[in-house]
C-alpha cells in the first residue's frame, strides 16, 4: 500500500483550484490533516475491487429526461433573480473580470 503525503505546496495548489484563499497557518494545518485523512481512505486498498464496477447512482434510475420546453413556473422573474445579488447593472449580474485581469494565470 502506498503512503501519500500531502505537502503544503499541494495544499496551496488545491486552494487555488477550489477558489479559496487560505491563511498561512491553514496551509500547514490542512497538509497534516489531509495526509492523515488519506491514510484512512487508503485502507480501502485492502479490498479487492479489480472485478467490480463503480456505483455512481444508488437507486437505479438513469437517463431521466423532460420535454425541452420553457416552463414559466420554473423561471424566476428577473427582479427576484437579481434581488440577492450585491452588484447588478442594467438587469445583469456583475462578475469579476476574468480576461486580461491581474489575477495569476489559472492552473
Amino acid at each position: 500500500m502506498h503512503t501519500v503525503t500531502v505537502t503544503p505546496e499541494e495544499v496551496k495548489k488545491i486552494a487555488k483550484l477550489a477558489n479559496l484563499k487560505l491563511q498561512d497557518n491553514e496551509v500547514n494545518l490542512f497538509a497534516g490533516q489531509f495526509t492523515k485523512t488519506i491514510e484512512v481512505v487508503n485502507e480501502l486498498n485492502e479490498i479487492d475491487t479489480s472485478k467490480i464496477a463503480e456505483t455512481y447512482q444508488i437507486n437505479g434510475l438513469s437517463n431521466i429526461t423532460r420535454t425541452d420546453e420553457v416552463d414559466l413556473e420554473n423561471v424566476l422573474p428577473q427582479k427576484i433573480a437579481l434581488r440577492e445579488a450585491k452588484n447588478t447593472h442594467n438587469g445583469f449580474f456583475v462578475v469579476d473580470r476574468l480576461i486580461d485581469s491581474d489575477a495569476e494565470e489559472l492552473i
Binding site: 477550489a18 489531509f34 487508503n42 464496477a53 455512481y56 456583475v94 462578475v95
Partner: protein, 474 residues
C-alpha cells in the same frame, strides 16, 4: 392532562376537532417556550414572523371546513438548509447570512400544502458538515438533556427542538447519519427515507448522491405521517423515485412482529464500544424476539471501510456543490467560509483532481458497490437489520474541535446504510449516564413501511419516549 407541547400530530388534530384549543393557542404556547428556553439551548436561528397570522387563518379554515388536510396546523421546526420563502436561510454559514430564498424547497411546499405551520429554522453544522452542530457559524446547539453535551448533528437543532419540546415535529436531512445520530443523542425518533424517496430540490446540497430529507419527531407514528406527505416523484429532482408512495401509517399499531426476520449486525457491536451500550442493543433484540420477530446474528463488511468510502464521495460532491457559492448571484464571498467548509471542499478538490481521481474517487465508488451488494444479499433473507446508531451517548461540548474526521468516526454505524441509499428509523432504546441511546432499524430501499412497522411496534411496547425537564437541565 398533557400540555400543548407534549402532543403528537394525531393528538393535536384531535384537539382541534374537539375544540380543546386553537392553532393560535398552540403556536403561542410554543412561542412562549421558545422565548424562555431558546437562548439557553441555541436551537432556533430564525423565527417565522407571520406565524400567528398563519395560525389564525388555519383556525378559520378548521371552523369552516374541519380537518381536511393531513398536517393542518401542525407546528414544525425546520433545519436551516431547507429554502423557505420569507424566512432567512443560511445553512448555518456566514456566506448566506441575511439570505432570503427566492423559491421554496419541494418538501416545504409539500408540508405547507398539507397545512403545516413553520415556527422557525434550526441550527445545524455549517452546510451540514459535521455531527455536532459545533461547525455552525452561529454557535453550537446544546443538548436539552444536559447542556454540557452536544446534540449531535448535522440536524442537531431539529433534534434538540423535539427533545426540548419547542415544536410538535421537525424536518432534518441526512447525508450519513445527520437525522439518526442527533435523534439518538437527543432521545427522539428520526426517519431517513430511501435516497430519492423525498425530493432534494431546494435543499442546500451537500452530497448529492446521498442527501435525503426526512422527519424528526416524538414518535415513529409522527415520522410516518410526515414521510407520507414529503415523499414522491418530483420533476425538479431527477433522482426522485417514480414508485408510488405507500400509506406508511397503515404499518402502525401492529400487535406483534410475527413473520418478520431481523439481522443484528455482529460487526456493528464494535470492539471498543461500551458494554452498557452493547447491552441496550442486545436487550432491544430480545424485545423484538418477544414481539415475535426472528433475530439472527449476521455479518457485514467491517464498517471502518464505510468511513473511507463516505469521506471520499462526500468531500468530492461537496467540492462540486459548493463551487456555486461565489457571492455573485447571492450571499457573500468565499473568504467567510469556516475552516471545516474549506477543509471539506479542498479534500474533495484533491480526490477529484487529475492523477488522484482513479486512486480515490473511483476506488471509493467501487467499494460502494461491494457495500450495496452485501446489503442486497442480506435483504434476500431479512426484512431489516439493527444496530446502535452511535457508538455511545452524546459527547461533551468541544469534542469535535481539532478532530477533522469527527463526523465520520461518530457516524461509522450509519454510513454503510446511507452509502447504499437505504431507509432507516432511529429511535431511543434506553439510557447510559442519564443520556439517551439510539437503535437503528434499517430496511431495503423503498421499504419504509417495514422499518416503520418494526420501529413503531418496538416503541409501543417499550417506554423510552421520555423528555427532559428543561427547568432542571437548563
Amino acid at each position: 392532562m398533557k400540555q400543548l407541547h407534549e402532543l403528537t400530530i394525531k393528538e393535536v388534530l384531535d384537539g382541534y376537532t374537539n375544540k380543546d384549543f386553537t392553532c393560535v393557542d398552540l403556536v403561542s404556547h410554543f412561542q412562549k417556550r421558545i422565548e424562555k428556553y431558546n437562548h439557553k439551548l441555541n436551537i432556533y436561528l430564525a423565527l417565522n414572523e407571520n406565524v400567528l397570522a398563519e395560525a389564525a387563518a388555519i383556525d378559520n379554515e378548521i371552523a369552516e371546513k374541519g380537518i381536511t388536510r393531513p398536517l393542518l396546523g401542525i407546528p414544525f421546526a425546520v433545519k436551516d438548509n431547507f429554502l423557505t420563502l420569507g424566512i432567512e436561510t443560511t445553512a448555518s454559514s456566514n456566506i448566506l447570512k441575511g439570505y432570503k430564498p427566492q423559491y421554496e424547497s419541494t418538501v416545504i411546499e409539500k408540508i405547507k400544502t398539507a397545512g403545516a405551520i413553520i415556527l422557525g429554522k434550526t441550527n445545524m453544522d455549517s452546510f451540514a458538515h459535521g455531527s455536532s452542530t459545533e461547525t455552525s457559524d452561529f454557535g453550537a446547539t446544546l443538548n436539552p438533556w444536559n447542556v454540557e453535551k452536544l446534540p449531535g448533528g448535522s440536524s442537531g437543532g431539529s433534534a434538540a427542538a423535539i427533545a426540548a419540546q419547542l415544536a410538535t415535529v421537525a424536518l432534518g436531512s441526512e447525508t450519513a447519519g445527520s437525522i439518526r445520530q442527533p435523534a439518538a443523542w437527543c432521545g427522539v425518533t428520526g426517519l431517513k427515507p430511501t435516497y430519492g424517496r423525498a425530493s432534494r430540490f431546494g435543499i442546500i446540497a451537500m452530497g448529492s448522491s446521498l442527501d435525503s430529507p426526512g422527519p424528526i419527531g416524538r414518535s415513529v407514528e409522527d415520522c410516518a405521517l410526515i414521510t407520507e406527505v414529503i415523499s414522491g416523484k418530483d420533476p425538479k429532482d431527477a433522482t426522485t423515485s417514480p414508485s408510488p408512495v405507500e400509506k406508511y401509517s397503515e404499518n402502525l399499531y401492529a400487535s406483534d412482529l410475527r413473520g418478520i426476520r431481523i439481522g443484528i449486525v455482529k460487526e456493528y457491536l464494535l470492539p471498543d464500544m461500551r458494554e452498557d451500550v452493547k447491552n441496550l442493543i442486545l436487550d432491544a433484540a430480545d424485545k423484538l424476539r418477544l414481539l415475535g420477530a426472528t433475530v439472527d446474528e449476521i455479518s457485514l463488511m467491517d464498517p471502518k471501510y464505510a468511513i473511507g468510502v463516505y469521506t471520499v464521495i462526500q468531500r468530492s460532491e461537496v467540492s462540486s456543490n459548493l463551487a456555486r457559492f461565489d457571492g455573485i448571484r447571492f450571499g457573500h464571498g468565499r473568504s467567510v467560509l469556516c475552516e471545516e467548509t474549506k477543509r471539506r471542499i479542498m479534500l474533495g478538490t484533491y480526490t477529484l483532481s487529475a492523477g488522484y481521481y482513479d486512486a480515490f474517487y473511483k476506488k471509493a465508488q467501487a467499494v460502494r458497490t461491494k457495500i450495496v451488494d452485501e446489503f442486497k444479499e442480506i435483504f434476500k433473507t431479512y426484512d431489516a437489520v439493527i444496530g446502535a446508531v452511535s457508538p455511545g451517548p452524546a459527547l461533551s461540548v468541544g469534542a469535535s474541535k481539532n478532530q477533522p474526521m469527527f463526523g465520520e468516526m461518530e457516524d461509522i454505524l450509519v454510513e454503510p446504510s446511507s452509502i447504499a441509499g437505504l431507509t432507516s428509523v432511529g429511535l431511543p432504546c434506553g439510557f447510559v449516564d442519564s443520556l439517551p441511546i439510539g437503535l437503528q432499524i434499517t430496511a431495503n430501499q423503498l421499504k419504509e413501511g417495514t422499518a416503520i412497522k418494526i420501529a413503531d411496534c418496538f416503541q409501543r411496547h417499550t417506554n423510552y419516549q421520555v423528555f427532559p425537564d428543561l427547568d432542571k437541565t437548563t
